[in-house]
């Protein structure tokens, strides 16, 4: 008996403290559900057996107290108050068969479920945080050895790549006639100019080779170019009627001489 009395007294004190705390410290609550959960604890019963009617009354008086203390309550606290006042009337009045939607009991049961679930999550959170935690109770390797990434690059190239590359270079070469080395080229214009000056003196058959410019006879490249140019020039001169050309046999020396006008 004495124990019970003691407990009641203690409860009363706790309740008072809690009520004071919530009024003074309303900002500390995380919304109406938090307040309801806090208030429900003062009922000292299993959350499943909570009296939602009583809870609604507790909440409404909490809001009243807050008003008298001129504590500004956020809108959702007032919305909850209005809803709980409605729930209270539903619970007190006999059910209206015309009324649609969930009954007062159903709404109360759901509120009780929500409170129980929130409490369960808070307990779970506390249990979680009470677990051994890494970096506090147990530790990972302090000196991890990095896995060195060895990147091995294999280069791919096929024989075809190789041949195409080579072909590309060679093709490039074949299509670069414009940058030919002029030093080793004797043009037909040059040959023509040279021969015009010389043919006047060529009264007898003379080998074409003797018309090659000085210094172009030895080097095969220069010789080829000079020969071709001189030959082309002599054909040009023949066309103009300035010279006559003859060749006794295939691959025999080509000879030319001045064409005398009077011979015609």
């Amino acid at each position: 008996m004495a124990d019970l009395f003691e407990e009641d007294k203690r409860n009363a004190v706790e309740e008072r403290l809690a009520a004071e705390a919530l009024i003074v410290d309303v900002d500390g609550f995380e919304g109406p559900l938090d307040v309801l959960l806090m208030l429900s604890r003062t009922q000292k019963v299993d959350l499943r057996k909570i009296s939602v009617l009583h809870l609604a009354e507790q909440y409404l008086s909490f809001v009243e107290k807050a008003k008298t203390l001129r504590i500004e309550l956020a809108a959702d606290y007032l919305v909850m108050a209005a809803w709980l006042a409605f729930l209270k009337s539903r619970l007190l009045l006999p059910p209206d068969p015309e009324e649609e939607g969930p009954s007062g009991e159903e709404l109360a049961a759901h509120l009780a479920f929500q409170l129980e679930r929130l409490q369960a999550m808070r307990d779970a959170a506390a249990q979680l945080m009470a677990r051994d935690q890494m970096g506090r109770d147990f530790f990972a390797r302090g000196l991890p050895e990095d896995v060195t990434r060895v990147r091995k690059v294999t280069w791919s190239a096929t024989l075809l790549d190789l041949m195409q590359a080579y072909a590309r270079i060679r093709t490039k070469d074949e299509f670069r006639p414009f940058v030919l080395d002029r030093d080793n080229v004797f043009t037909m214009e040059q040959a023509l100019e040279r021969m015009r000056k010389m043919v006047g003196f060529a009264g007898t058959w003379t080998d074409l080779v003797s018309y090659l410019p000085q210094g172009w006879e030895k080097d095969p490249v220069r010789r080829r170019s000079a020969t071709a140019a001189t030959f082309a020039a002599s054909l040009e001169l023949a066309k103009e009627g300035k010279v006559e050309i003859r060749q006794s046999d295939t691959f025999a020396p080509i000879q030319l001489r001045r064409r005398e006008r009077g011979h015609e």
Partner: protein, 220 residues
């Protein structure tokens, strides 16, 4: 050892795998070298052809029982962690974790126990809207991440906990959360939507998600 037949089958492969004792050493070396948990797949990948890291782990785990460090499982990965009873020796290594707000801790617990869970569902449970900062903080700590979108109108994103969360709290698995079974048995992990209650922050959020039955994430 009961692994003789196992070894025999493995002997059929082209290259003989190293003896199990060697494999155990390899797993030991790799786990010691890494601060992060290493998956069995990665272990097998790094070990020579034909190795069976999972089996080697069984032996290694046994070997470290009762020692100063343990072989622990984190999701499908494995790591070595110091024994929790020796934590007091590690003041030097202790990392000051940022103090989490009550809202953050509650939100984390709700995500862990109800995952995958939408923001609206978290708000329904807590009865207040969840601030962006809270979610951001948990995301930044890499304790939660986005899960799949819920196939409901608005396709809201869901949140789930990460392997880093499991590692931090020494959980092998999300199913090992303390009291999970009891909570489920008591029906407290169910979502029971009811219209007309002025609770939850869902209405003030952009995503007016429809709260529906909790999916069975822990049933796998």
């Amino acid at each position: 050892m009961s692994d003789a037949p196992e070894n025999q089958t493995r002997g059929d492969s082209l290259f003989a795998a190293p003896p199990m004792g060697e494999q155990e050493r390899m797993v030991e070396a790799i786990l010691f070298a890494s601060a992060e948990p290493v998956t069995v797949a990665e272990l097998n990948d790094r070990m020579p052809h034909g190795c069976d890291a999972a089996e080697a782990l069984v032996y290694l785990r046994k070997r470290y029982e009762g020692r100063g460090v343990h072989i622990v499982r984190v999701g499908d990965a494995w790591a070595i962690r110091t024994a929790a009873d020796l934590g007091y020796l590690m003041q030097k290594e202790t990392v000051e974790t940022r103090k989490l707000s009550r809202a953050a801790i509650e939100t984390l617990a709700i995500i862990a126990y109800h995952q995958p869970v939408t923001r609206a569902e978290i708000e329904e449970i807590r009865g207040v809207s969840v601030s962006r900062g809270t979610v951001d903080q948990l995301l930044e700590m890499e304790w939660i991440r986005f899960g799949r979108r819920r196939m409901t109108p608005g396709r809201p994103v869901t949140f789930v906990v990460t392997p880093a969360f499991l590692d931090h709290f020494g959980l092998e698995n999300a199913r090992d959360l303390p009291g999970l079974k009891e909570l489920r048995a008591a029906g407290l992990l169910e979502s029971r939507p009811m219209d007309g209650l002025p609770l939850g922050g869902a209405q003030d959020e952009d995503d007016d998600e429809v709260i529906e039955g909790q999916s069975e994430l822990f049933e796998d």
